[in-house]
């Protein structure tokens, strides 16, 4: 009996020697993630470069870990960050606290906060773990303008702009 068991075990070992290895040589090789993977957040922009975030702090309200801190300010046409009257002047996520549940994404009325696919978060200090708005916001898309931008009066007066369907 013992010999059979041993042989079967050895056979498994032998078989795996010829299998393709599952180990990825991280960081040289990065494993692709699933489309619905919840990684680090980003703050999205519209095509014209305006920030989607309107500083409503519903993400902070939904966050079960109290990881998000938002402070809003008023937009003016000479200094416009987002459509409508309000934008986030401070937006911080403490990634040490974040549990990547994605409630913030669900709560967001403008689809501004998205849990993207970046999972490479390592910090050497607690302060580094707090991602500020500058670190979270995506770069200005081609053809768009950086914020704050100067816009003609009345061009973006809707509080929540007509929603563009997510593609």
């Amino acid at each position: 009996m013992f010999a059979v068991e041993l042989a079967r075990g050895m056979w498994t070992t032998l078989k795996s020697m010829f299998e393709e290895p599952v180990t990825y040589q991280y960081p040289e090789v990065k494993r692709p993630v699933r489309p619905r993977f919840k990684g680090r957040h980003v703050l999205a922009r519209y095509k014209n470069g305006l920030e989607r975030c309107i500083g409503c702090a519903l993400c902070a309200a939904a966050c079960p870990a109290s990881a998000i801190f938002v402070e809003a300010s008023e937009n003016i046409d000479r200094r416009r960050f987002s459509p409508g009257e309000r934008y986030a002047s401070t937006y911080e996520i403490n990634l040490l606290r974040c549990i990547f549940c994605g409630f913030c994404e669900d709560a967001c009325p403008t689809e501004a906060i998205v849990l993207e696919h970046n999972y490479e978060m390592s910090f050497t200090s607690r302060r580094d773990a707090i991602y500020t708005k500058e670190r979270l916001i995506v770069p200005v898309p081609p053809g768009g303008d950086p914020t704050p931008m100067i816009v003609p009066p009345g061009s973006f007066d809707r509080a929540i702009p007509e929603m563009e369907d997510p593609d």
């Binding site: 309107i54 500083g55 409503c56 702090a57 519903l58 902070a60 309200a61 801190f69 402070e71 809003a72 300010s73 008023e74 409508g84 009257e85 309000r86 002047s89 401070t90 911080e92 009325p109 403008t110 007066d157 809707r158 509080a159 929540i160």
Partner: protein
């Protein structure tokens, strides 16, 4: 007041309420919620929003016999109307059956919400009201999940309409309930906003210049059932659910409005916790659910960058202020006080809390010195004796009662008292307004008395003559005083408010004394809703009197004579009166405790940074002698300490008394020493009672977003006449006025002055009073002055150039100058006026 009662059934609950009660209130009292938008328990019903629809069944009445039809069992037959009815406009009837939660009523209300939401933008995420919005709550509780109206057809209207400097309108959010307009018209009689156009074009417009010019405008944002009206101060400041709330007392005037400080940690304030807004806290006996705009918006001084943060001492020879530790500072203070050998004077301001004033009094007593109050108004002892009794509520005054307001412009000095006095007059109370000039309150007065500045007390003696018929008083009596004296003596309840406009210490003392005597002679002291109320200039002046800290009759200059050391707490005598600067500098050792580096602090040897009312706890005693407690809302900067704490530490270091661990402990000392305060302790101050109407929490739809009071209603002190029957009141012959001055410059109070506590609030900036000299047209002509011209005013060897305004409301022979705007003037003075040719 007994009232006929009516019984009815609301959703199966038997309710008995007074005749005339609206169904919506009756249901609320029975714990049944009827959603409302336009209805507000403090306003007249209008039935504009239709949100309160219910089914009403009335007993069937036989038309021929006029008798109630009964069924086989003998029960009345109930007949329901064909349509739903608004419960906010329908007064209850005997035997009615109201169905709030019937299928028909629920469906009716759901459709009303659907209709209200047709043009509502639903921008709750960016709305300041989001989170404490009645429309949001009602939609969740009673509304349909989906609208049948087309999203594309929504109205798009202006979202950023400043109605004034303080209030913004979002036209899309407005549901046209008119609560704000009705508040301004019915409650505060400032009809400065109104509806324009009709139907879907309807919008709120301001009729005044500057826009929304009312001292009560902030209250409209509390009762607005949507986010249509928001304040400039809180605009996008925070979401309501992120705020912490701490109970406090407004430090700006003698009313002592109960407030709630909403705080939040803020990145733009370097991570400090800051006050985001001040909200009214319900106290139906003090401020109901209202707050004036000064109380609401002038809170920024507490978080000012200019606050003192560390103790500083000045070594005289070097003349430079150097920061030091508390240990060193206290040691330095102790040495300085010891060197004075008892020749020490404590000077306190009316902003200090009872605990601070008691601790100062205790320290000065121990040193062999004394403590005085930096104030010009007298009469606190008469308020102690003949103040209003426990149970007083101005809302109880009405027909058959009388209110006398003398030498005060309540609208500017104590807006909430003005509001409540005016409402009492509207309920039928006789209102006698006596002042040297017309004031806002005159419009609601039944009797107006005029006198020359400085002789207010004569008027009261004239009235007293009619009651006690003393021969000596003949000279003061006139037909007018006779008439109003009758009103006073006939009234069931009399409350007298006295101020100090145009009066110095002696004159206000006489006025207070004669008012108290008048009240005693007519039998209006020693019970609720009767007595004397002082319109003090500061929040805790009455507390200072109660703690034994009185103003010096001869003024501070006299009190400072021969003093080697002075200890100034919560006052800036040098800033208020530049002539005092040199006197304060002559004192060997000057200690100043306060929030800012004031003129007085600049002259000091030691400056000790004190905590403001938002950083500590303590109590204020308001002008009606209600002791109320405020709580710490913000953690203080490490370098700051509470006034009582510093004083107690100094007293301990000098071996006078042991240091007290808390403000509550100091209050225990006060209660032990002061008979009037024997019932006062912190637990007693935190006692509550249920109040009507319900506000805040789940009742924001009903009473608005004012906070309910869970932190205590305070303790109304008992006037001494109620306890000591042997107190007698005698009138004082007013001092003769030596000569009639050519021109008397009288300081008057304006709500938005430029004092340290006000100027730091930027939102109030455009509303602040501008320094001007108000002159009577005849005097102006005699002097050859033009409107908006420049004049030079001379008094006491001082000169100042002022812009003059010709105003017919100014009495002849007087010129008025608002306080705290740059003319350091405590009381009325003779002046020489010379127009400056352009």
């Amino acid at each position: 007041m007994s009232q006929a009662l009516v019984s009815l059934t609301i959703d199966g609950v038997e309710v008995t309420v007074p005749v005339g009660t609206k169904i919506v209130d009756a249901a609320k009292q029975a714990g049944i919620e009827i959603p409302v938008f336009c209805y507000h328990p403090k306003l007249e019903s209008v039935g504009m929003c239709r949100q309160c629809l219910v089914e009403i069944g009335r007993p069937k009445i036989d038309r021929s016999t006029r008798k109630i039809v009964r069924d086989k069992n003998g029960d009345p037959v109930i007949e329901f109307g064909p349509k739903l009815e608004t419960s906010c406009t329908t007064p209850v009837g005997e035997g009615w059956v109201v169905l709030v939660n019937s299928e028909r009523a629920i469906e009716g209300r759901r459709q009303v919400i659907e209709l209200i939401l047709t043009s509502h933008p639903l921008d709750c995420p960016i709305c300041d009201k989001g989170g404490e919005c009645p429309l949001q709550n009602m939609t969740m509780a009673h509304g349909p999940g989906k609208s049948r109206f087309l999203y594309e057809d929504k109205m798009h209207l202006a979202k950023h309409v400043p109605l004034g400097d303080l209030i913004f309108l979002d036209r899309e959010r407005c549901i046209q309930c008119a609560r704000c307009i009705r508040f301004q018209t019915e409650i505060v009689d400032d009809p400065v906003i109104a509806f324009s156009e009709r139907g879907r074009k309807l919008e709120i417009v301001t009729l005044s210049e500057p826009g929304f010019a009312s001292y009560f405008s902030g209250n409209t944002t509390d009762i607005c059932p949507v986010g249509a009206l928001t304040t400039a101060d809180f605009r996008f400041g925070a979401r309501p659910w992120e705020l912490n709330a701490t109970a406090s007392i407004c430090p700006h005037c003698a009313v002592g409005c109960n407030t709630m400080l909403n705080t939040r940690r803020e990145a733009r304030s370097q991570g400090r916790v800051v006050i985001k807004r001040v909200m009214p806290r319900q106290n139906e006996a003090v401020n109901e659910i209202w707050l004036c705009d000064k109380g609401r918006f002038a809170h920024h001084f507490a978080s000012s960058e200019e606050r003192l943060a560390r103790p500083v001492i000045k070594l005289k020879r070097r003349g430079r202020l150097t920061a030091t530790t508390w240990e060193n500072a206290v040691k330095f203070v102790v040495e300085g006080l010891q060197a004075a050998h008892g020749a020490v004077l404590g000077i306190a301001g009316g902003r200090a809390s009872n605990e601070d004033l008691y601790a100062l009094h205790r320290l000065m007593d121990g040193l062999g010195g004394r403590a005085v109050l930096h104030d010009q108004m007298a009469g606190g002892e008469f308020v102690q004796q003949a103040g209003v009794g426990p149970g007083t509520n101005l809302a109880d005054l009405g027909s058959g009662d009388c209110i006398l307001v003398v030498a005060s412009d309540l609208h500017e000095e104590a807006p909430i008292w003005w509001l409540r006095v005016k409402q009492a007059a509207e309920r039928g109370a006789k209102l006698i307004v006596a002042n040297a000039r017309p004031t806002r309150l005159d419009a609601h007065a039944t009797h107006i008395l005029r006198y020359d500045y400085g002789v207010a007390a004569h008027m009261i003696l004239g009235m007293l003559h009619e009651i006690n018929h003393q021969k000596e008083l003949d000279q003061y009596a006139s037909a007018e005083t006779k008439k109003v004296a009758k009103v006073v003596s006939k009234a069931n309840n009399v409350v007298v408010f006295y101020g100090s406009e145009g009066l110095d210490y002696a004159a206000s003392h006489d006025l207070a004394q004669n008012c108290a005597t008048l009240l005693a002679a007519s039998g209006h002291v020693g019970r609720a809703n009767n007595g004397l109320v002082a319109v003090w200039t500061h929040s805790n002046t009455q507390g200072a009197w109660d703690m034994g800290v009185h103003p010096e009759p001869g003024g501070l200059a006299a009190a400072l004579k021969g003093q080697k050391a002075a200890y100034v707490v919560a006052a800036d005598p040098a800033g208020d009166e530049p002539l005092l600067t040199s006197l304060l500098e002559q004192v060997d050792f000057l200690i100043v405790q306060g929030l800012f580096l004031t003129e007085t602090a600049l002259a000091a040897d030691v400056v000790l940074p004190a905590q403001s009312f938002v950083e500590r706890d303590g109590t204020y005693t308001n002008g009606m002698r209600r002791v109320q407690r405020f709580f710490p809302a913000i953690a203080p900067n490490e370098g700051m300490r509470a006034d009582w704490e510093i004083l107690s530490a100094v007293a301990a270091a000098m071996g006078i008394d042991s240091a007290r661990p808390s403000a509550a402990a100091v209050m225990q000392d006060i209660a032990a020493k002061n008979r009037d305060y024997s019932e006062v302790n912190y637990p007693a101050l935190s006692r509550n009672a249920s109040q009507w109407p319900h506000v805040g929490g789940k009742d924001i739809y009903f009473g608005g977003t004012a906070h309910p009071n869970h932190q205590g209603l305070g303790v109304q002190l008992t006037p001494r006449v109620e306890r000591q029957k042997d107190i007698s009141f005698d009138w004082a012959a007013p001092r003769k006025i030596a000569h009639k001055p050519r021109y008397l410059m009288v300081p008057i109070t304006k709500l938005y002055d430029r004092g340290t506590t006000v100027v730091q609030s930027q939102v109030l900036g455009p509303r602040l009073e501008i320094l001007r000299l108000y002159v009577n047209p005849e005097d102006a002509e005699r002097l050859g002055m033009i409107d908006e011209g420049e004049v030079e005013v001379q008094w006491d060897g001082r000169k100042q150039r002022l812009r003059s305004v010709i105003d017919e409301h100014v009495p002849s022979g007087a010129v008025l100058v608002p306080r705290s705007l740059g003319v350091p003037l405590a009381t009325a003075v003779d002046v020489k006026i010379r127009p400056i040719a352009l």
